[in-house]
């Protein structure tokens, strides 16, 4: 029913209005004194070092790969958690096997030094 979506629509309108109004107000009322420090990209208040478009260390990619794998595999925990009570011991053992296999992967990554930063 379209009418059911009315509150969401109202919420959307208010949210957009709030954002537009605050930005507009601050740009109208606020004082503007551009100095070089203010024009720099914000990096925790410290002066930026070098260009932002430099190459990242490959180590980040290894961490990203490990993260993707272990993070997404956890998706199986959700349906399992929903019916965990109905499954009893069987479900517990089943998920235990799954976690053990993931753990083997972790041990492998660990021993291979993928978790070391240096």
């Amino acid at each position: 029913m379209p009418i059911d979506y009315l509150p969401i629509f109202a919420f959307l309108v208010i949210a957009i209005l709030f954002a537009v109004v605050t930005i507009a107000l601050s740009s109208i009322i606020g004082t503007k004194k551009p100095i070089p420090q203010k024009m720099m990209p914000y990096e925790c208040g410290v002066d930026p070092i070098g260009s932002a478009r430099r190459r990242f260390s490959v180590k980040f990619y290894i961490i990203a790969m490990l993260f993707i794998i272990f993070d997404i595999e956890a998706v199986f925990l959700y349906p399992w958690a929903v019916i965990f009570k109905d499954m009893g011991t069987f479900g517990f053992i089943e998920m235990g096997v799954f976690i053990v296999i993931l753990f083997v992967g972790l041990i492998y990554a660990w021993k291979k030094g993928a978790l070391e930063w240096e």
Binding site: I83, D86, M87, F90, I101, V104, I107, K111, K112
Partner: protein, 484 residues
């Protein structure tokens, strides 16, 4: 909410479980092994393969569904299991020294081969499209890594990238086909789909036909049929040779297993629709594979095109869509496993690091220098060409006669003409070996016990199946009896 926990029949998954456990074990062992001493990992994997083989034999003749109809362990699946295990076992035997020579001896190699084999088994045993898809991906992801295993070689990298991009692309098509099937029939269960189609009054539902077409594309990629074959020569050329051997046999067999099960069983009622398409694809695949193979100078590339041509021959068995045709596919796959693995084994043994000897001209004069090796190569080439008394001849004979019995006489004639064409490029190698003067110095072969065992098994398999085909044909027949 009522929750019924399905009966867990662990025994029916015996081979898969044994191999998975072996693979995990090999992975762990290989991390703790000292650097450069990785043959224990290889022997452990062979042990796993042996036990998986034994458990497949024990399951024979007792077809059953298990895991809530997700798995169907019948003779068909077990016959294919044995092909996968032979391919994996021989590839591992061929790899031990090859990897050491290339300074790439890592235990992960063997673990990945085992994981890929598990995936193949799930493809052959899957009785639900979910299982088949998961098996396909388990296999493919392992093979992507294996294709790029020589990580410092540009060719190997390139091969892995191409296989990855095109493989993932094709599995997306397969997946979309599965979604369409699910939408049209309301189930992903192969039996359910078959029941739905046998009751349906109207089989021209566009969603159903689109789903079938997309499934055809997905499987076509994996079996390397024209027009989805473009990746094959590059990937086969660049990958480590033992992996090329494993891919050309294992991946093809697994894809055919799933292909046959889905099309000849689940989509049987649509047979008039897909049969024409397969007819054309089979002819194109055979012809293109054979014609292009003639002009190849790299032996791995030549065998890649030859493997495309063989996919075409096997598709004839599917077009025949009879019990004889299907058992012919199984038989041919078994024969192909021995002869193709053997041929790649000879290539591995003949090359060495920095001097791969992959050009066909490098084979000239080999017959005088290494008569034994040249004799082996001759047997494998004869078998691939389909000359008696080898396995390749019997396989082709059964497939073509199945086509004739089902009334596809023209298809059989085109097939025979194609095998005549193929004789040219297979025998070219033999002629090179025996009738040409050597073009270069030979540096000496490095025989190793494992390679010798692998080649002996391959040659015995090729000749035994060629000379006494009937027991193997009986096995193939028993594998398809309950199926049609």
């Amino acid at each position: 909410m009522d929750l019924v926990i399905p009966k867990i029949d662990v025994v029916s998954l015996g081979p898969e479980l044994i191999l998975s456990i072996a693979a995990i074990f090999v992975l762990l062992v290989s991390v703790f092994l000292p650097k450069g001493r990785k043959d224990p990992a290889a022997y452990l994997s062979l042990l796993g393969i042996f036990f998986a083989f034994v458990s497949s034999i024990f399951l024979w003749g007792n077809p059953r569904y298990s895991f809530n109809n997700m798995i169907l362990v019948d003779n068909f699946a077990l016959f294919f299991n044995s092909i996968f295990l032979i391919a994996a076992g021989l590839s591992i035997l061929m790899s031990v020294n090859y990897l050491e020579e290339q300074e790439m001896s890592h235990g992960e190699f063997y673990a990945l081969i085992l994981f890929a084999t598990v995936g193949m088994m799930f493809m052959a045993a899957g009785s639900n499209l979910i299982t088949i898809f998961l098996g396909l991906e388990t296999m493919s992801i392992s093979i992507y890594v294996l294709a790029g295993f020589f990580r410092r070689s540009n060719k190997s990298n390139e091969s892995a990238l191409k296989y990855l991009l095109l493989g993932a692309f094709s599995s997306a098509f397969l997946l979309y086909g599965i979604a369409m099937m699910y939408g049209a029939t309301g189930t992903t269960d192969l039996k359910g789909i078959s029941e739905y189609l046998s009751k349906a009054a109207y089989l021209k539902d566009p969603m159903l036909l689109a789903g079938m077409g997309l499934l055809l594309v997905g499987f076509g990629f994996k079996i390397a049929s024209v027009p989805f074959h473009m990746w094959t020569p590059d990937v086969y050329e660049g990958a480590p040779t033992s992996i090329t051997a494993f891919m050309s046999v294992g991946v093809k067999a697994a894809a055919f297993a799933a292909f046959v099960r889905v099309f000849l069983y689940s989509l049987w009622n649509l047979q008039p629709d897909w049969n024409h398409v397969l007819w054309i694809l089979a002819v194109l695949t055979m012809t293109l594979g054979n014609v292009v193979a003639i002009s190849q100078n790299n032996i791995k590339r030549m065998l890649a095109y030859s493997s495309i041509a063989h996919a075409g021959y096997i598709m004839i068995g599917m077009v025949a869509s009879s019990e004889l045709g299907t058992s012919g596919i199984l038989f041919y796959m078994l024969a192909y496993a021995f002869m193709n693995l053997g041929a790649f084994g000879v290539i591995i043994l003949y090359g060495r690091k920095g001097e791969e000897n992959l050009d066909i001209n490098d084979y000239s004069g080999m017959g005088f220098k290494y008569p034994g090796l040249a004799l082996l190569m001759t047997v494998f080439m004869f078998s691939l060409a389909g000359i008696p008394p080898t396995a390749g001849f019997v396989g082709k004979f059964y497939i073509f006669s199945a086509a004739i019995k089902s009334g596809y006489i023209w298809l059989a004639i085109i097939g025979v003409m194609n095998s005549l064409v193929s004789v040219y490029y297979y025998l070219r190698i033999t002629v090179m070996m025996y009738m040409k003067e050597p073009v270069k110095e030979f540096a000496g072969l490095k025989w190793s016990p494992s390679m010798a065992i692998a080649l002996i098994i391959a040659v015995i398999g090729t000749l035994l199946i060629g000379i006494f085909p009937s027991p193997y044909l009986d096995l193939a027949r028993q594998s398809v009896q309950l199926f049609m």
